[in-house]
Every structure is written in C-alpha cells, then in structure tokens.
C-alpha cells in the first residue's frame, strides 16, 4: 500500500571504476561475467578500482570551482550533480533552495609531496615540532585546508548546484552513509522534508586513504580475488575503489505532483553498532535482518561486504542462513567505497527494482542465480571495522 509520505527514489548519481550514471552501471552489471577494472601497479602490493575518465566540466561548470577542490570533493560534487540532473532538480531554483542535504564524508586528500618532504627531513632532525611549523607555514597551499575539510563536500554542492535548504555532514566510514540515508528517510516520513539529496564519495587513489585501512591491516594484498573469496589470502581482505553515490529521496506525493519518474520506494532503513570485541556481530546482523522485516520468499540482496575477513564471514553466514536470499557482493566489481558504500548499495537495489530484473552473479563460485522479477531488494553495509546497516528497497 503506497502512502503520500512514502520515501521514494527519484534521482541516482553514480560514479565508479565501471563508469558513470545509472544506465552505464546497469548495462555493465547486467553482463554476466563482467571483469572488474583494476589498477594493480600504482599502489602495489595493493590493488584498487580506479576512477574512470571523467569530464568534470559536465557537472562543475566553473574551472575556478574545480580548482578549489581536490579529487574527492570533485567526485562527490560530480555524483551529486548526476543525481540532481536525473531527478530533474538541477537548475530548478525553487527545488534546489528548499532541498535538504545529508552528506556522508571522511576527509580529503593531504598534500603528499609536502608530507613526504617533512617525513624525509624528520630522519635527520630532532626538532620535529619546529620542522612541522617551518614546512607547513611555507609549503601548504592556503586553500588546501578547505579542499580537505569534511563538510566542504556539502559546501561545494551548495556552491556548485545551489542546494541550500539545509546541509549536514555525517562522518564515520560506512556508518556515516547508513545514518545519512536513515536520517534523510526519517525526515521525509515525518513530514520534516519533502526532498533530500543524500550520498557520499570516496577517492581511494591516495596513500593516506589506503593507510586509513592498513593501520589495522585491513587491505588485501597479492593477486585480486572476488570479495567472498579473500579469506586465507595475504592481507586483510579489503580491496578499495574510488566512487560516489548520491540519491534524491523524495516524499511520494512531492514526486508525483511534479510528475517525476520513481525508481523505487525506500522501505525500512535499520542500523546498529555491535560491540564486536564482545562477539555481538552475528547476533546484530540477524537482528537487523529481522528488524528490516525481510519478506518471505526469494530475495535479491545487494551486499556492501568489504572483504574484511571477520565482518565478511559474519555477513555471508547470515545471508547464507536464509536460503531464499541471493546475495550480490558488488565490491567484487567496484571495490569498497567507504562512506559511499551504503548509498551505492541502495542505488543498485533501486535499479534492479526499476529494471524488473536481478543482476547476474558477480562471483559464480560464491553467489547463486536469481530468476524472476525482484519486487523487493535488500541493501546492506556491514562496516569493515564497525557499524552496520540495511535497507529494503521496494518496487515503486
């Protein structure tokens, strides 16, 4: 039963190593046996899924704006623009100035050359605190700070796309993406908002972005493998990817009154934080599946599993425990996109519902086929280190 205050998805903006936009992603992902785009040399021993070629001008018209951002912010601003275009909101002043925004963000790119010079000098100097002052005051580009600041992805979206109803940035890896979607949906359901831009971006092609995983040994090393098959391989199991995912969430009544195409309805969004050192993860995933009220019968699941050994084993076991669930671990083809992971999962789920078809298996050895039309699709993001979330996406 649809209700006027349902949350519906009316815009999708996607960028990954596979390309950009919902159509390109659908066409690629619907091909059985698609090979991932990999970059194994630049960051060896780590493999990453790199950004595709992007003409930034298409979504960020002013060169001056492009120069004020590093790649992460450009990527997010670009993906946000794709979603706004897709929803028919871009350039519509009235809709943009009343549009709310929740962005899931980490930090931006530091200046690797400046950092490397300071580290190199630290080998021969003991006055390292003075060294920092000396180098940073003279060598940092003054506006780089803004290009790194977490909330400036949202800030740039306001500047470039004129989204100014409200602007909030959530931080905290995959959990930020989960909370962003959950909060946005709650605002619409309660009548606090009629249309919200929500999403995130992750630019992995920078040593600090890899370091954020590798300080706990989370990255997979050696030859690439699909996300479900990294247990026992060298390293921690995560292969990262650059990408971004933004959604336009809208109150059903608002979307229909302006005659927009609806991809899908966003059903329950549930989240939690298992105390993993206490062994709560298995029970937490089971509880979330229950809380999301997964319907009886066969179910397609877009899993955001990262490959991180413990979390991925737990998620796989929980999904396998229900024989009706056919999971698709999309990180096999996109890599793990951190804050963007959950919005990406929801976007892929919405596409399957909209196209009335399931994705073929992304890993023939670990996934099972799904025949028929998926009316409801599950999207998951079980954090590589902490935080868990799921959503059900239903036919419009």
């Amino acid at each position: 039963m649809s209700s006027p205050r349902d949350v519906v998805i009316t815009g999708i903006g996607l960028v990954s190593s596979l390309g950009e936009g919902p159509d390109a992603h659908w066409q690629k992902l619907a091909q059985p046996g698609l090979e991932p785009m990999l970059e194994a040399a630049r960051f060896a021993p780590y493999t990453v899924h790199p950004l595709p070629e992007i003409d930034w001008n298409l979504q960020i018209a002013k060169r001056g704006d492009q120069r004020q951002m590093e790649t992460w912010q450009r990527l997010g601003t670009y993906a946000a623009g794709l979603a706004l275009d897709d929803a028919g909101i871009k350039g519509n002043d009235e809709l943009c100035t009343t549009m709310d925004m929740v962005v899931a963000a980490g930090g931006g790119e530091r200046d690797e050359a400046v950092d490397a010079a300071i580290l190199a000098a630290s080998e021969s100097r003991n006055d390292r605190d003075v060294l920092i002052n000396e180098k940073l005051t003279t060598e940092l580009r003054p506006t780089l700070f803004l290009a790194q600041l977490s909330n400036l992805l949202a800030g740039n979206i306001s500047i470039v796309h004129k989204v100014t109803g409200s602007s909030r940035t959530f931080m905290g890896e995959e959990g930020a993406g989960v909370a962003a979607v959950e909060t946005a949906a709650a605002r619409i359901r309660s009548g606090q908002s009629t249309h919200i831009l929500v999403g995130g971006a992750f630019q992995t092609e920078h040593s600090d972005m890899l370091l954020g995983y590798e300080l706990a040994g989370y990255l997979h090393r050696g030859p690439w493998k699909p996300v479900w098959q990294r247990q026992g391989a060298e390293g921690g199991g995560v292969v990262t990817g650059s990408g971004g995912a933004f959604l336009v969430l809208e109150q059903r009544e608002h979307a229909t009154s302006r005659g927009r195409k609806i991809y899908a309805e966003l059903g329950p969004v549930v989240s939690g934080r298992a105390r993993r050192p206490w062994g709560e993860l298995d029970a937490q995933i089971a509880a979330l599946l229950k809380q999301a009220a997964v319907p009886n019968g066969k179910l397609l699941a877009l899993s955001g599993a990262s490959g991180a050994h413990t979390a991925t084993i737990a998620e796989k076991a929980a999904l396998d425990a229900n024989p009706a669930i056919a999971a698709r671990g999309f990180s096999t083809l996109t890599g793990h996109m951190k804050e963007a992971q959950f919005p990406f999962a929801v976007a892929l789920a919405a596409l399957a519902v909209d196209r009335k078809a399931a994705y073929p298996v992304f890993d023939a050895a670990a996934e099972k086929p799904f025949e028929g039309v998926p009316a409801t699709v599950l999207a998951t993001a079980i954090g590589y280190h902490q935080f868990e979330g799921m959503a059900l996406v239903n036919a419009a």
Partner: protein, 423 residues
Amino acid sequence: MANLNDHMGRPIVAVTGIGVVTSLGVGKADNWAALTSGKSGIHPITRFPVDHLNTRISGMVDFLPSSSKGSSHLTYELAETAAREAVAESGLDSGDFGGPLFLASPPVELDWHDRFALYNSNDLDSGGERLLRVARGLKELDFFETTQFGSIAGRLADRFGTRGLPITLSTACASGATAIQLGVEAIRRGECDRALSIGADGSATAEALIRFSLLSALSTHNDIPEKASKPFSKDRDGFVLAEGSGALVLESLETALARGATILGILRGCGEKADDFHRTRSKPDASPAIAAVRAVLADAGLSQDEIDYVNAHGTSTPENDKMEHLSLSTVFGERIGSMPVSSNKSMIGHTLSAAGAVEAAFSLMTMRESVIPPTINYDNPDPAIVLDVVPNKKRNAEVRTVLSNSFGFGGQNTCLVMAREPV
C-alpha cells in the same frame, strides 16, 4: 498540568543535564564563575613550539590528562568529561543511558607525532609507501583508531551505554548546534525519549593553527592574549583558536516530568539554511543567516519580540561580526540596538566543533542564573555595529528566551532557540 506538545503538536524537548569544559575549567561551576567575572581563558601556546607561527596564543585546554596526547584522545576526553557531568545531573544511568548519541567533533587525521614514529621505525622506501609498509606490520589498533571518523563516538557509546549507531557529524563551526538539533529532531519524531548531544573539539594542533592562519582567520594579537578576542570591536582581527566541549541531555518533557527530573530549560526550536556564495565568506546580503534566524523563530513558534537575549556566534573576525550584525538587525529591526547580544568567545575563544554545544550550555545557564555574561575586550566599539553587547561586565537580567547562533565555513548556518520554561 504542563503542555507536553509544542505549537506544531510535537513533543516538547527539555534539557535535564548540562556539562561543559573550556579553557576556563572543567564543569559548569568553574566556567560560570569565570565567565560572569569577565575572565579570559586565552593564553600563550605551550603545547608545541611556536617558531615560525604568526599566531602564538589560543584557548587550548591544557589541564586534562590527554591534553598532550593528540587531538583524538583529547577530543574523546573532552566529550566524556562534559557528558559525564550532564548525565550525572540528569540522574540517568551513566553506564546505560538508553538513547542515541549525536557527537559533533572535528575531522580526524593521523597525528604528526604518530606519523613520525611510524616513519622512523623503518628505512625502506619513502613517503606514504613507507608508512603503508610499517602499517601492515602493526599489531595494535592504537594508531588505526585515531584515524577512524567513527571511533570517538564508538568509545562514547560504550562508555555511556547509548543506543544504536552513534552519529558523528560536522557542520564546521556550527557542528555543536547541529548535534543538538539532531537530538531534538529524533525526540520530536518519536524515535526516542532521550538523546545525548555532545560537541567536543580538542584539535588545536600546530597544523590546525597553521591552516587557519593561512586563511587569515586568526587573531595575531599575541602580546596580551586575554585581549585578543574582541567581538564587535573596531580593531578585531580574527578569532582565537580554542578547545572545549559541551553536552546536553535532551528528553521529551513528558518523560522527564514523569520521572521527576529537574527541567533545566527547553530546546524550543532549531533552524538552518545553507549559503551557496563562497567556501569561507557569507553572502554579502546575509540572506542565509537571516533565513536561519527566521527559520528558528518559526520552528520555535516565537515572534522576534519574544527573544530576550542573543548568544552571538561573535567570532571576532571582521567578516562574521559584520554579517551577524546585518542578519540580526534585519530580523529584529530597531529593537536590536536595545537587545542584549553577547559573545562567550570573547573569553573562551572559538571552540570550533564544540562551539554550538558549549554556547547552548551557557545560554541555558544564562536563563537559569538570570545573569548575562559580558562581551569582554569591548574597548573600541565598531561604529558600524550598533549592538548592546553587554560590554565588559556581566548584567543581571530576567532572560526567558535565548537565540544562539552558529555559522561555519562551507555555508553552514544553524540557530537554536532555548527557553527557561515550557510554554
């Protein structure tokens, strides 16, 4: 029987616990005594050498055990300390809080001292490559945890027994206000009966100072530190970087009354509006700040005549104070000249991610104590900014309602309205 719902039929949100830490001290009592006696917490920087720095003063919190342990540890301790005070005052279980956590905290990065330690523990490769090589051999998670944006909130969730996925947020210098807004909204939507909202910032590192300096945002009045932060003065030349934390226990009025809690104040309304003009500058006509103030009044169900006092953002930068005055004078008209508007930042500096929460705590105390803290260092008024800034000395006054402003880089504008009593 008190009215339990507001003018829009939503549950009224009460404050039942307040905690605060600034450079003036730990806890409400010490802070309030200092704040109302016009004492400044701004002092010379001793945490790191100041060679090559244009700004050598700050409002750092130097007296906690974690003050020298890097921004992640200090931010946690600041948040924990303020939240402990707030939860204790509320009378709720300090290990089983039972509601969600909203934490405003600064973005995290690997500390320079940690970078040096990792880098110099190996001599193969160089730069980031060497750091990655060392990282994959680490056995402990200590370095890792300081680089995860969700770690501090995770630790706080364990410490206080908050429920669900804790939200860590940043809206730059408006973050503390946004954390409170998220708590208010969750209670109004009926998702919970109580929420813990914290703003904490212990990120005053050398690099942070340099970054703000490079943007010409900081005061360079180093000679007399306590005089450097001078909001609304003609010779103001930037803000003073500072640390601190503020925490509020928010509860639906209904459940707070039912358990016999002391009601410390009411969170009447929240309003926001993003600015699309520039990354660090506000739209010259101040229209987004004006819209945020109007939005909070509408949300609170109050007219402009019903605001008794403004706890200003008042950073002491040339830009902010001018824009804030323009927005207030536009909304409040002629009345603004006779309405008290003071800036806590004149004494504590700008606590960045914590500021909105710290200043909400002080706003609530202003109403409870019937004392308005002054704007100190107001010796040379800016003739273009005609405001009653409660200059230099506290003022006794009945204050029933407060507007608290928070504006930040990236076009963030968030306003809160608090009231002493339920309607």
